[in-house]
């Protein structure tokens, strides 16, 4: 038999405190598919000898689960461009910022491309850029974007099916390797196919430049 008692203010004294409620809600955020995928990636990255990958994924998963206590919250929408006065001067500033970013990106790609792959300098540079872009994109797009309506099922299914086929093909190639650490010439993975490109400084710089461009494209979506 249980009794429910109330405080003078009418609050249930058996109800969890605010902090405890936050933790409970954050823990419930662990059920979100994206958080589960991130946690799985963190686990498999860690046991595959990539502890930093795992740590980054773990931090983002924890952050998302913690944010869940504030609700699903659509990404913040910014006001439409040119919605207020002074759009011409803002255009000049925007151009200057874009030029500065392009210059910084080219310098980054040239400098980090000179580092040996999987070295500590390369690791620190890539982790820094990756974390920076995630932080920039966390609250929403950096410029206004109309949110499209529901996707047509057929088209979305075709994209999803193609992505799945590519993933399975890569997984099959991986399974045909002598071991996870040893590539196979007969069944190359995408990583193995890109090794010749990434073996040279220009190749690494080119790849890093494309990676940065893709990241910038994504934070603007």
């Amino acid at each position: 038999m249980s009794f429910v008692t109330s405080t003078p203010h009418g609050e249930d004294e058996h109800a969890p405190s605010t902090e405890r409620r936050d933790v409970l809600v954050a823990v419930s955020g662990l059920r979100h598919p994206v958080v589960i995928v991130l946690l799985l990636i963190a686990f498999f990255s860690a046991i595959a000898g990539k502890p930093l990958d795992g740590l980054l994924m773990l931090l983002v998963a924890a952050g998302l689960a913690w944010k869940a206590r504030l609700g699903p919250g659509p990404a913040a929408e910014l006001p439409p461009e040119g919605a207020s006065s002074g759009s011409r001067s803002r255009g000049g500033v925007r151009l200057a910022v874009a030029l500065a970013l392009v210059t910084a990106g080219v310098l980054y790609a040239a400098a980090v491309g000179s580092f040996i792959r999987f070295s500590w300098p390369a690791t620190i540079a890539v982790v820094g850029a990756g974390a920076g872009v995630i932080v920039i994109g966390w609250h929403g797009p950096v410029r206004h974007r109309p949110v499209p309506g529901p996707l047509p099922r057929l088209g979305a299914g075709l994209w999803g099916g193609t992505l799945l086929a590519g993933g399975l093909w890569e997984l099959w190639s991986l399974s045909q390797q002598p071991s996870l650490d040893t590539t196979s010439w007969a069944h190359p993975t995408i990583s193995a196919l890109t090794d010749p490109l990434l073996a040279s400084h220009p190749g690494r710089s080119l790849a890093l430049g494309v990676w940065l461009l893709l990241g910038w494209y994504l934070v603007r979506r």
Binding site: H32, V34, V35, L38, I41, K50, L52, D53, L56, M57, V60, G63, L64, K67, G73, P74, A75, V112, R117, F118, S119, W120, A122, T123, A125, V126, V127, A129, G130, I134, G137, W138, R145, V147, P148, L151, P152, L154, G155, L158, W159, T162, A165, G166, W169, S173, A186, H187, P188, I190, S191, L193, L198, R204, L208, W211, G215, L218, V219, R221
Partner: protein, 66 residues
Amino acid sequence: MNSHDLTVGGYLVVLAAFVTLQIVGLRGKAPVPTLGTILSRIMRTRTGRVGILVAWAWIGLHFFAQ
């Protein structure tokens, strides 16, 4: 055709399928969205947005970081 060619051919088929879907989506005559539309749709929520950004970050980590 050996196993190497067959494996690379598989990747090229997938790549060609992506390019074809994007072209069909850009033409707008079939119910196929472009990749940009799909990304915008997925990224409309915080979890979807961060999930995509983390996938991007993971690519850099996978190819360059320890």
